[in-house]
């Protein structure tokens, strides 16, 4: 047993472990899409990952040579684990989207670095046979380009969600982006059609490609607004998957290939699903027609009416059925705990409280569920908007907290509205409506919301968290 990692023995084991890891990835992903099995699915995928890593360290051979620099590799893994674990454990739940974006960027960067290191080492035999136009070179170049775009884009997305970077919208930007993309593809064609003896002669062009990909990644995400960021993160997530798969292609490594492509395709579908929930096309999100347009301005009929804190308290405390519609604003104000306090208090007073969760409420689809779960709101109280809509005419008070476009009746009434056709929470069906809002700013779609002018609507202006806390105190003092 002393020479256990022997060539004729280790390679089959390595391949076997890769097969098992791939199966675990598939199962993990499958189980992640059901609430009951999700946590175990995540765990399974993690086991697959760890076994693939260990097997690679032990059994991988390149031209018969085992993995060297083991100490260095282990140190790097320990450092990465320590940092990753700490960040992941410490971060607030509201900061989840930017964190996913950050980790995604790390993966993209790793893929790009691999490409940079591997490019000068394309086998001279291969080049002698096929020139630069072969699968290896293509995988390296695509891995570099996609990985880098994913990294740069994710970092910008991270900065935006963290409120460090603002939007930058210039009309000409999409043409600039298109031009850069074409130049990048031109680079790939150029490099692959060169006649050289060794790939390292072309390294300069690869560095140029790297730089240009960074620029593209930045410009790609810069103009995209906050509410669309989840779609972009999901898209970049699938980019990194594809970049990882390129590495699998390069090393003829099945675990990387299946894992990467699986995430690439699942990520793409998830992106499309998210877009659907917002009734937007992917192209719309990327080119960004929202925000600038505003050609259909439904003129406001009626006027805005405010409600005092004590009136709101009385209204809520003496109703039978209350539905809360939480939105982006609640997430930004971190008001989920205050919100749960309100619902507990009302519950004690015999009021039935439900939450209407729009699929894209919050900063990412499903994010609102995570946030409310963090505040201990029972699962059963969270109702998807399609399910709760028929119930709304029997609802005494509907409280909109920091949501806007997802309750905008224009989605049903106004065919010229950019959000027309988007499924919404049919807020206006409720008997009374209280809207908590920071000010009269428009939602992300930058369109007027007629709900605010409805006869049944009363506005409660202020920061969501502070307003909720005041409201709780008012109700307690009743």
């Amino acid at each position: 047993m002393s020479d256990l990692p022997h060539f004729s023995f280790g390679i089959p084991i390595l391949e076997l472990v890769y097969v098992v890891a791939s199966v675990l990835f598939v199962f993990g992903l499958k189980m992640l899409s059901h609430p009951l099995t999700a946590r175990r699915g995540n765990f399974l995928a993690a086991i697959g990952m760890v076994s693939a890593i260990v097997a690679t360290l032990l059994f991988h051979r390149k031209d018969g040579e085992p993995i060297r620099n083991i100490a260095l590799i282990l140190v790097a893994i320990v450092i990465g684990t320590a940092i990753g674990w700490t960040i992941a454990k410490r971060v607030k739940m509201t900061a989840m989207p930017q964190l996913v974006s950050f980790f995604n960027g790390m993966g993209g960067a790793a893929a790009a670095l691999i490409s940079i290191l591997e490019f000068p080492h394309v086998s001279p035999d291969l080049i002698a046979r096929t020139g630069m136009a072969n699968g290896h070179v293509l995988a390296i170049l695509l891995g570099l380009m996609i990985g880098t775009i994913s990294w740069a884009g994710s970092m910008i997305a991270f900065g935006k969600l963290d409120g460090r970077i603002g939007d930058l919208r210039v009309k000409a930007m999409k043409y600039v982006n298109l031009a850069i993309l074409l130049v990048l593809i031109g680079f790939i064609v150029f490099i692959m059609t060169r006649h050289v003896n060794a790939s390292s002669e072309l390294s300069t062009y690869v560095y140029m490609m790297f730089a240009l990909s960074v620029v593209y990644g930045v410009l790609f995400v810069m103009p995209i607004g906050g509410a669309d960021m989840p779609v972009v993160i999901s898209l970049l997530n699938s980019f990194t998957g594809v970049a990882a798969a390129m590495g699998g292609f390069l090393y003829n490594n099945q675990a990387m290939l299946t894992g990467g492509i699986l995430v690439g395709s699942a990520g793409t579908i998830l992106t499309v699903l998210m877009c659907k929930a917002m009734n937007r096309s992917l192209l719309n999100v990327i080119v960004g027609v929202f925000g600038g347009g505003g050609e259909s301005v439904a003129t406001a009929a009626g006027s805005i009416r405010e409600i005092t804190m004590s009136d709101a308290a009385v209204l809520l405390a003496y109703s039978k059925k209350v539905v809360i519609v939480p939105g982006y604003g609640l997430a930004v104000a971190q008001a989920q705990h205050a919100c749960h306090e309100l619902d507990k208090l009302l519950d004690e007073k015999g009021v039935e409280v439900k939450y209407a969760i729009h699929p894209v409420a919050g900063r990412m689809p499903g994010h609102m569920n995570v946030l409310l779960a963090e505040a201990d709101v029972p699962y059963e109280q969270l109702i998807e908007s399609d399910e709760i809509n028929p119930d709304l005419p029997n609802t005494d008070v509907l409280v909109v907290i920091g949501a806007n476009d997802v309750v905008n009746p224009a989605a049903e009434d106004d065919p010229s509205s950019p959000i027309y056709g988007m499924p919404i929470v049919k807020a206006r069906d409720a008997r009374n409506i209280i809207v908590m809002k920071r000010g009269m700013g428009k939602g992300y779609a930058a369109i007027e919301n007629l709900l605010f002018y409805n006869d049944k609507t009363r506005m409660l202006f202020g920061d969501a968290k502070a307003t909720l806390q005041n409201l709780v105190n008012e109700i307690k003092n009743l």
């Binding site: 992640l32 899409s33 995540n42 684990t81 739940m93 670095l113 970049a243 490594n253």
Partner: protein, 100 residues
Amino acid sequence: MEKILEFFLQNREAIFIVILSIFLGIEVISHVPAILHTPLMSGANAIHGVVIIGAIIVLGHADTTGSKIIGFIAVILGTLNVVGGFVVTDRMLEMFKKKK
């Protein structure tokens, strides 16, 4: 044309895997409820951390100091992706479970 066909023949296994994996990925998650979109994205994010294997291979065969440094960074970044991704996903899912 000849070149493209030759390319296909040389890489047919990988191409097979790619095509089947694409269908698999679509099939596996096409019925996911919206509440799980965020954890699913995060879980998938962790899985593409498999790129760390490539980073290990690169560093494992690196000779020059320069390539060792870059490989070292690549392994750290890959680990960040893997560990951070799985831990964060677990944290999210833990919250769904804890109420009863």
